[in-house]
Amino acid sequence: MSQLTVGVGDCKTSNAAESVLTTYALGSCIAVAIHDPVAGVGGLLHFMLPESSLNPEKASQNPFMFADTGVPLLFRTAYGLGAEKRRLVVRVVGGAQVMDEHGVFNIGKRNHLALRKILWKAGVMVHAEEVGGNTSRTVRLEVSTGRFWIRGPGMEDREMTASSTGKGVR
């Protein structure tokens, strides 16, 4: 196993079967994990803020800090390794309602909505999502299998399958 750590405002993609992509301390930040089971390609983005217009200079130095610059790059990099949009399994985690350094509570929700708007416009469906709450999370994606785990503080890993959003009435 080869662990690749994704930092805050960072992104990694891999087509190496032994790779495991991991990112930590998702408070109001959001992790976007994508996996193409046919091409064997995985990618993980950890972004902090919704819109690069908030700080264009920062965005040009580090596009992964913002949803609108980071998400397209994540997908394009994965396509470069052989992934195809229609095969991608997409999972979204984070966006907790925690106070950030600006004393603002709602940045987690704004991050989530910005991401969902970008994905909907790009024609990408979300397969599983765990957002909100008020705890920090850690996630990891296994490139060989596409399996994905979430961990909250002081808790064990929970596997997130590719369909964890059912909200219909039956």
Binding site: L49, L54, D100, N106, I107, K109, R110, L113, G123
Partner: protein, 181 residues
């Protein structure tokens, strides 16, 4: 039905509709037809954080002008209670919300699509509020229609009004309830 219950229902319904299908967040909201006078505060340049609680100056002339350029949809509903619901959105904001709903760039959204989105917002907001307030009743919602701008954003007479600041403009909702005799 307590007025406060209606305000809470309106707030929850609008947030749910805008977030779930338009991917738009509500920055703040309040009772009434529009926010009272507020001061404008801009984020400091270079500040990478989001704007703090936004406050907007709305002088009388600007309010009237904005009202004349609003897209307003109204529907009636029958049941216990019966009544009506009206949603009013400044035109540019309506187009932006429509773009979020349809997954398009703003410039790709036609006028008729914008109008249809506002009508569907009225439909969903009304349905959501009524279901929250009267979960056991049956309602029939009549197809929403556009309202000429000169009729204004709220109902005349008694009704519950609430405004919602979406960052790029203010959306207002009016709910009028007529209990069965």
């Amino acid at each position: 039905m307590e007025p406060n219950e209606i305000q809470i229902g309106l707030a929850a319904a609008v947030e749910e509709v805008l977030e779930t299908m338009c991917f738009t967040s509500v920055l703040s909201s309040g009772e009434g037809a529009a926010p009272a006078t507020m001061e404008e505060t801009l984020p400091a340049s270079g500040d990478e954080g989001p704007p703090a609680d936004r406050e907007v100056a709305v002088p009388a002339e600007a309010e009237a002008d904005a009202g004349a350029r609003a897209c307003t949809a109204e529907l009636r509903f029958e049941g216990n209670p019966s009544g009506g619901c009206r949603v009013s959105v400044p035109w540019n904001l309506a187009r932006a919300v429509g773009a979020g709903f349809l997954g398009l760039e703003e410039m790709e959204v036609s006028d008729s699509q914008t109008e249809e989105v506002v009508c569907e917002l009225a439909n969903m907001i009304c349905g959501s509020v009524l279901s929250r307030l009267e979960s056991e009743a049956t309602f029939r919602i009549i197809h929403p229609e556009l309202v000429p701008p000169e009729r204004g954003a709220g109902f005349e007479g008694a009704g519950s009004n609430r405004w919602f600041d979406l960052g790029d403009g203010i959306l207002t909702v009016s709910l009028e309830l007529q209990p069965a005799i």
